[in-house]
């Protein structure tokens, strides 16, 4: 059996469900007598909402097309392009998740190389015409070609593998650095994926040298073919400059990756190693090293957690578990916001931008209202200056946001949210005042981060219209909304809140009315254990770095500083009242707040000795390992309790909340896949195979 037959035998069962991207071949007579090009169109037969991907069958299809092309002697060139709006967006992730053994993983890696590299090794030149989104393996197809053109309309060019926990290992780590230089290659392969998977647009990709020519979308293919004919005819010569600076680029990137991950996720490090090798490795050596990296990563749990997390963010976030019928949602034509502080003003801007309806802010005095409205206008001005809004749009938004000292302005509002001081009595009073003014179908929402919704609604005439609508700070940036249903909240109100959340372009998770909901409860438990360890005598720096191996976005005390010790203390107290046996209140933390310190760090990010001294005095120090174990065990315990209490529908929702609300990383799958794979969760939260390599 040939190598290909082996791979086919090994992979065909795993790829039974593959949506196959076909390689349609058509002869094109090039302009100017440049001869015939065999033009391959990649097309899976669906429209752009289901982009082209590569699984084993798609790779075999492309291989078949290339075999036929290779046998011909009448061709001047071969071209590859995509279906409308999409070039190809990489490997079939569903197929990747189905792989079980290293042998299978290695076969997929080698098969990809075997097929793609033919594009660069034919006796005739090859051209990729990147007409639409090109990601991962899709971009690698283009990189294997001799030349590339790209459309200025392409919205996304990226190698997102490191974001998921892979490397661009079908040639990307070897070809891209040589094409555009190591520093820019690292930007695409490592930096962008680690920066919330940032995408590059067609023009930027061209400017980076990923493509040799840029054409407008209106007649992209025609002009690309004309250009290809000119290249073949020698009228256009493409320069390929030599690149240097490899050692510095790789060293700089290693520093950056360490800062972000502290060694917690293997993929970016493997990618860096491969990029470093690309300077001297032969094609065979480089591709073989990619094969090994892919095989290792594909059979590692970090990638599986990444794929799981990606699916949560892409799918579960868009269809919240337990949501009522969306048809029940009421139309929102005007929004009221109680309070005109910073958070309320941020909300006002967001509501106005996304809902495009009038938004009224109220507060206790005109000065506060003016300050809030001025904040919104200033932010609109900044967006205008940056070109993110046109003058007309800015005028429209400005006219939408107004302030009023009287809640009477809410009379015709459909959705009123309060963002006043986090105090139950204050909030109850505010809601009662609002209810006295608004119509019967107006939804009342609270942005509380920790108070009981049921308690808050107890004295309302119609508590069924109260819903929790918990934003995270900064409101415009953080993607999560915890939508809280109280005991009385009815389906129409919940549906309305979810619809508003969707229009705000937030990902909503439905949460039961429980103290501090999901993200703050877990972060507070997490923080509480770390602070308790310090209170007991563990050196602050030891505790602070005990969890570095997880690659969380922030160390515990850095997080405390961001949130503000006073807020942290307040939430800790709320949770302590609810669950005194698991949530303590640190006296030292209270002293830190009393001392008016912004945290334990000075503005230059060094430790503030005075602040650290406030935590001194304990006599039962723990090791870093003990702190880590204690924190993780506490998280596992708390999550188990939350699931038992029905705070959310499933562990998946916990993970979604931690990914979107706390920025916890994909390689942990949020957190439960990590607790499962590290053996801390007993029993497991998720069955094997869901976010780990199938047994």
């Amino acid at each position: 059996m040939s190598e290909l037959d082996n791979w086919r035998a090994l992979l065909s069962e795993r790829a039974a469900d593959e949506v196959v991207t076909k390689a349609l071949v058509r002869d094109v007579r090039l302009p100017g007598g440049a001869g015939t090009m065999a033009l391959i169109t990649l097309d899976n037969g669906f429209d752009h909402t289901r982009p082209n991907t590569f699984g084993p069958h798609g790779l075999f299809a492309l291989n078949g097309a290339l075999s036929e092309i290779a046998e011909r002697t009448d061709l001047a060139a071969v071209g590859v392009t995509g279906k409308p709006f999409v070039f190809a967006v990489g490997a079939d992730l569903k197929g990747a998740a189905a792989l079980r053994t290293r042998e299978e993983a290695l076969a997929v890696a080698r098969l990809g190389h075997h097929v793609f590299r033919r594009l660069g090794e034919l006796p005739i030149p090859s051209f990729a015409f990147v007409n639409g989104a090109a990601m991962g393996g899709g971009l690698e197809v283009a990189l294997h070609c001799t030349y590339r053109t790209i459309s200025s309309g392409v919205p996304a060019v990226a190698l997102p593998e490191c974001f998921l926990g892979l490397v661009p290992g079908w040639g990307g780590t070897q070809l891209l650095p040589r094409l555009i230089g190591p520093a820019d290659a690292i930007k695409l392969i490592i930096e962008n994926p680690l920066a919330q998977n940032r995408m590059t647009k067609g023009r930027q990709a061209y400017e980076l040298g990923v493509a040799d020519a840029l054409f407008e979308p209106a007649d992209f293919l025609e002009e690309s073919l004309r250009w290809a004919a000119q290249v073949i005819g020698g009228e256009v010569v493409v320069e390929r400059p030599e690149h240097d600076g490899w050692d510095k680029a790789v060293a700089d990137a290693r520093f950056l990756v360490d800062m972000k991950l502290r060694g917690a996720a293997p993929a970016p490090y493997r990618a860096l190693d491969l990029i470093a090798r690309a300077r001297t490795a032969t094609r065979d050596e480089g591709f073989a090293a990619e094969d090994e990296a892919l095989a290792d990563l594909l059979t590692g749990d970090e990638l599986r957690a990444g794929l799981y997390a990606f699916d949560l963010v892409q799918r579960r976030a868009k269809q919240p578990a337990g949501a009522p019928d969306p048809a029940l949602a009421r139309k929102v034509g005007k929004v009221g916001i109680v309070g005109a502080g910073l958070m309320a003003s941020q909300m006002a801007l967001l509501f106005a931008r996304r809902l495009e309806v009038p938004v009224v802010l109220t507060d206790v005095d005109q000065a506060r209202i003016d300050k809030g409205v001025t904040y919104v206008r200033d932010e609109i001005g900044k967006l205008l200056a940056k070109g993110r809004l046109s003058r007309d749009q800015a005028n429209r938004l400005t006219s939408l946001v107004t302030g009023s000292p009287s809640k009477d302005a809410f009379a015709d509002a459909d959705f009123v949210i309060e963002a006043v001081f986090e105090d139950l009595a204050v909030k109850k009073q505010v809601l009662a005042e609002v209810e006295a003014v608004v119509g019967p179908s107006c939804a009342l929402a609270t942005n509380t981060s920790s108070l009981s919704l049921t308690a808050m609604g107890a004295e309302l005439a119609r508590p069924e219209r109260l819903v929790g609508f918990h934003f995270f700070n900064p409101v415009a940036v953080m993607p999560l909304l915890e939508i809280v249903a109280g005991a009385a909240t009815d389906a129409a109100t919940l549906a309305t809140a979810l619809a508003v959340g969707r229009t705000l372009k937030k990902s909503s998770v439905l949460v039961k009315d429980a103290p501090a909901f999901v993200v703050n409860r877990l972060l507070t438990r997490f923080m509480g254990e770390v602070v308790a360890a310090v209170d007991e005598g563990t050196p602050l720096e030891t505790a602070e770095h005990a969890l570095d191996g997880l690659g969380l976005p922030m160390t515990p005390f850095a997080l405390l500083q961001l949130v503000g010790p006073a807020v942290g203390l307040h939430v800790a107290r709320t949770l302590h009242e609810a669950f005194p046996e698991r949530f303590g209140v640190s006296r030292n933390l209270a002293e830190l707040v009393a001392a008016g310190k912004p945290g334990v760090y000075l503005p230059d990010l060094t430790l503030d000795a005075e602040a650290v001294a406030l935590f001194a005095g304990g006599d039962r120090p723990s090791t870093a390992g003990q702190v880590r174990e204690r924190v993780l065990a506490a998280l596992a315990e708390e999550i188990r309790i939350m699931l038992d209490e029905g705070v959310v529908a499933a562990a998946q929702d916990i993970d979604l909340c931690m990914i979107l609300g706390a920025g916890w990383p994909f390689h942990l799958g949020g957190i439960t896949p990590y607790l499962d794979r590290s053996g801390i969760a007993q029993p497991r939260f998720l069955p094997p195979g869901v976010a780990s390599v199938p047994a």
């Binding site: 058509r26 094109v28 007579r29 033009l39 037969g45 209106a218 007649d219 293919l221 073919l225």
Partner: protein, 394 residues
């Protein structure tokens, strides 16, 4: 012709013409995309013309719905990336749509309303079969305003054979063979290709391709072959698919400008507009339309038919060309008439054809600087003819 300033034809291009139908070149290609391609090529070929200097985009289509609707002159201008400040509109005079787009913007230029305009036409007869969505007023027939045959173009061609009994099927077929031969020679001599703009084409089944040349010509057409064809419009009639233009898809466009502005921009105009005229005839013999329109245009220009050195006459049907020639005493095979062949070979995507005639005339002018005047003329459904007289600037 009274005019305040000269109007010139600067440059014209077209997409290759395809055969309509599920296997045709443009089976799954949008009509507006073809227009976009033409506009962009005109801008690209005339770098002296800043896009913002285009004052109007007039695009004709007979069936103005779907991808030929939405005021196609404006929508195609936006899709082509012309500055949003450039306006556009849609034109319809059936087969003479693009010709009317040219004469209409020319009138505006002469009057001083525009300096430069793009005019053209499109017809995707595969996506929009002739007569799609029409709703003829019943009074046409109840009051006998037109003969029942008037709305079926093939029948009007048969009617023309009745009016000119000396034009036999054999003469028509002979003319058709000549048209195919001349088109094949023009292709072989490279006269057509320079003014074609290749168009990307895609089908779900075959993927992307490129249309680079006309699909309709049938080189090697013989009298024997033609004699075997059916006469679908009349039993034992004279009109066949072989001596008629086909059912086609394609788009054309040209840049028309005030002479002084073309000079200012450094453009190289190829022809000067001398006069134009449209005329009506009985709808059931619409093919004679070019005769009165040409007579009128000649009169307006103060010219005689003998002053005309080149004729580009649309070959909707061979009989209609022959009627025109017979009327003016010109031989069926006169070398001044359609020297590159005509619509019988290239096809006739209705509203687009007028500018194809002009583009071919301009190229012939370039080859023959000794010729001073030429005409483009065509018959139009519902009984009309249109004629434009041009002066050679080569």
């Amino acid at each position: 012709m009274p005019s305040s300033r000269d109007v010139v034809f600067v440059d014209g291009v077209r997409t290759p013409f395809g055969r309509s139908g599920p296997n045709g070149l443009y089976a799954e290609t949008r009509a507006d995309d073809l227009v976009v391609r033409v506009i962009r090529e005109l801008i690209r070929r005339n770098p002296g013309l800043p896009p913002e200097r285009v004052d109007e985009v007039a695009i004709a289509a007979t069936t103005q719905i779907g991808d030929q609707g939405l005021t196609i002159g404006r929508s195609a201008a936006v899709l082509a990336g012309l500055p949003k400040s450039v306006p556009g509109y849609a034109v319809d005079r059936m087969c003479a749509g693009a010709m009317t787009a040219v004469t209409t913007v020319a009138g505006g230029i002469a009057f001083g309303a525009y300096d430069v305009a793009i005019a053209g036409g499109v017809e995707h007869m595969g996506r929009h079969p002739m007569g799609e969505g029409v709703d003829p007023n019943p009074r046409f027939l109840s009051e006998k305003l037109v003969d029942p045959s008037a709305l079926v173009m093939g029948m009007t061609a048969e009617n023309l054979h009745d009016r000119y009994p000396s034009i036999t099927k054999e003469r028509a077929d002979t003319y058709a063979v000549l048209s195919q031969e001349r088109a094949a020679k023009a292709y072989a001599d490279g006269r057509i290709q320079p003014d074609l703009v290749p168009a990307a084409i895609r089908t779900a089944e075959k993927g992307w391709g490129l249309a680079v040349e006309d699909e309709a010509p049938r080189p090697g057409t013989t009298m024997e072959g033609l004699s075997a064809l059916k006469t679908p419009f009349r039993p034992h009639g004279n009109v066949t698919a072989g001596n008629s233009s086909g059912i086609n898809d394609g788009a054309t466009g040209c840049v028309v400008a005030a002479g002084e502005v073309a000079g200012e921009l450094g453009l190289a105009p190829k022809m000067r507009l001398v006069s134009y005229a449209f005329a009506g005839v009985d709808p059931e013999v619409m093919g004679v339309g070019p005769i009165p329109s040409t007579e009128r245009a000649l009169r307006l220009a103060g010219l005689d038919i003998s002053d005309i050195g080149l004729f580009e006459i649309n070959e909707a049907f061979a009989v209609q060309v022959l009627a025109f020639l017979q009327h003016f005493g010109i031989a069926d095979d006169d070398p001044r008439v359609n020297p590159y062949g005509g619509a019988i070979a290239y096809g006739h995507p209705l509203a687009s054809s007028g500018v194809r005639l002009m583009t071919q005339l301009a190229r012939q002018f370039g080859e023959r600087p000794g010729v001073r005047y030429g005409i483009t003329t065509m018959c139009v459904g519902l009984g009309m003819g249109g004629t434009v007289i041009w002066e050679n600037l080569a």
